[in-house]
């Protein structure tokens, strides 16, 4: 899925967070977004995910406004935010089953749980998992509908060394087949994982 922004800007009240941002990430390519805290990385990713309507300019996915995508196009987006976006009252397996059902895909939850190293925690409530384990579950959740665009907002945060290596391996496997926009504070890692970079 191709990602494009034209003169993208966003303000929260009188605070300008993003200004005049032009981007172009081709299908299958990748972009690392760097920037200090508050520089607008998360806002950019939320605009790209269509969760935030930009106050200026436009964010487009596959040629359509990101905030106005039809359901079938929305289903192709995998979005990982600072929060894991999982139901704390459901087990890890139930979270993935529900996610698969909402996306209308066959649940491949057990394989994904094994892929992120959570097979032994499948029946544990998400709220009882550690922060790092919840982040692993969030990665499995993002991969459930086989997205063609990954928008990952500081995905390495909360992960231990094994988790970081695991995520890097997954992103390495997906390189070239999905479009990736990754925000991170780690420049070396971002450059290793992405073909292009942007500093806000």
């Amino acid at each position: 899925m191709r990602v494009e922004t034209v003169a993208l800007g966003h303000e929260f009240g009188s605070t300008v967070v993003l200004r005049e941002l032009d981007l172009n990430v081709e299908q299958g390519s990748s972009l690392a977004v760097f920037g200090a805290n508050g520089s607008g990385k998360s806002t950019l990713l939320r605009c790209l995910a269509g969760l935030l309507r930009p106050t200026v300019g436009s964010a487009r996915l596959a040629g359509r406004p990101a905030h106005d995508l039809p359901a079938a196009e929305r289903a192709r987006i995998g979005y990982l935010s600072h929060r894991p976006l999982v139901w704390g009252g459901l087990t890890a397996r139930e979270n993935l089953r529900l996610c698969a059902a909402l996306y209308g895909v066959v649940s491949d939850g057990d394989r994904l749980l094994a892929r992120v190293g959570l097979e032994s925690r499948a029946e544990v409530l998400a709220r009882s998992l550690s922060q790092g384990q919840r982040q692993r579950l969030a990665i499995a959740r993002v991969l459930t509908p086989s997205p063609s665009l990954l928008l990952l907002d500081e995905p390495h945060a909360a992960l231990d060394e094994d988790g970081v290596a695991l995520l890097d391996a997954i992103l390495g496997e997906l390189a070239g087949t999905v479009t990736l926009v990754l925000s991170t504070h780690e420049r070396e890692r971002g450059r290793a994982l992405c073909a292009t970079e942007l500093t806000l």
Binding site: A71, I77, Y79
Partner: protein
């Protein structure tokens, strides 16, 4: 399986595992009815009055649901997940409304026997005795409106900073027509009059609220 059914089942599963809302609503209704009974202390109170007290108690119990039913979506960011899923955005509201409806019915299963105990089984009972099938039907119709509107208020309030204030201010005044229609139904029933007009008002309220909620939540969730 439809998204509404999926999300509704999920709401029930989460509530079954951690029954916070249903406990707070039933406890509130029980305490509220008992307090109102103690405060009024009327000999042979009129039926319209005690039904009014029952309905107001249920309206306030719904307020509890409206204030909390969207907590997980707000605090855990689950709304983002639902907005990205390829489901109709109104399904998010509809599932919440069905969950609140289920909670209200459970609340009434506790409130109605207590109501009967306090006002019908007392030494100076309500006059006349309530027509329970009619009362159950009226409460069910009221529940539809309360659940539909309470859920959309929960969604609206989740987008505001002062949501603790927004929920009662948005919700309570809008339930006045519903309370008036329901009490008018009981009054006409007691007087032997026609229920057509007050019952029609109740049905129109439900229909309007559902249509309004449908439109508002699509707009609020999209914008």
């Amino acid at each position: 399986m439809s998204a509404v059914w999926l999300l509704f089942r999920n709401e029930l599963r989460l509530e079954r595992r951690a029954p916070q809302l249903v406990l707070s609503m039933t406890l509130f209704a029980a305490i509220g009815l008992t307090l109102l009974h103690a405060a009024t202390q009327l000999a042979h109170p009129p039926l319209t009055l005690v039904v009014g007290l029952l309905v107001v108690t249920l309206v306030l119990a719904t307020l509890l649901a409206a204030a909390r039913v969207f907590t997980a979506e707000r605090e855990d960011g689950l709304l983002d997940l639902l907005l990205l899923a390829p489901i109709p955005r109104t399904a998010i509201w509809a599932a919440k409304a069905l969950a609140v409806l289920a909670l209200l019915i459970v609340t009434e299963l506790v409130a109605l026997p207590l109501f009967a105990l306090l006002y019908v089984g007392s030494s100076q009972p309500v006059t006349p005795s309530p027509d329970y099938p009619l009362l159950a039907l009226l409460l069910l119709l009221a529940d539809l409106g309360l659940a539909a509107f309470g859920s959309v208020v929960a969604i609206l309030a989740s987008a505001t900073r002062s949501r603790e204030l927004a929920v009662p201010i948005l919700f309570l005044p809008s339930t006045i027509p519903l309370v008036l229609s329901l009490v008018a139904c009981v009054r006409e029933s007691v007087a032997g009059g026609s229920l057509a007009q007050p019952l029609g008002s109740l049905l129109v309220y439900d229909a309007l609220v559902i249509v309004l909620a449908w439109g508002v939540c699509e707009f609020v969730l999209t914008e």
